[in-house]
Symmetry: C2
Subunit: 82 residues, 2 copies
């Protein structure tokens, strides 16, 4: 089965990488870009198991390894039926 995990900086946490990208976009003439925030998009393949069990496991590994819960939020998305 397949899952996606989205890791984003919490609101209020500065994103220097996103700021740099925004500045570059402005320099390229894209003045209408107001904010850029850069997070992670993690695609996972795992052995088939129950959806609830898989979700629990993915939330655990997101909290323990994929995200830094002090400054980041995460969202787990399970692709049903795969």
């Amino acid at each position: 089965m397949k899952a996606n995990v989205y890791v984003t900086l919490k609101a209020g946490v500065l994103d220097p990488q996103g700021e740099t990208v925004k500045r570059s976009l402005h320099l390229m003439g894209n003045d209408d870009i107001e904010e850029v925030r850069i997070g992670k998009f993690i695609q996972i393949k795992m052995r088939n198991q129950g959806l609830e069990q898989a979700r629990r496991q993915l939330e655990e590994i997101s909290d323990q390894l994929l995200a830094n819960p002090v400054i980041e939020d995460f969202r787990v998305e399970l692709a049903e039926g795969e």
Copy 2:
């Protein structure tokens, strides 16, 4: 208006960061994780404009700056009505 850009490594391109995360997950006891691929999840706020025009602009900046088209694919997702 808001947009999300997903940047992923092309199929066949090695992902050492994803491999390292997979190994760590196995060491933590998650033997059922078969593959981990790490991409970018970029959230953009921009001034309102037509959807088609916004999509064209976002695809251009993804191709020019956000992704490396040699090794990465990207997907633009526009949040309609925001």
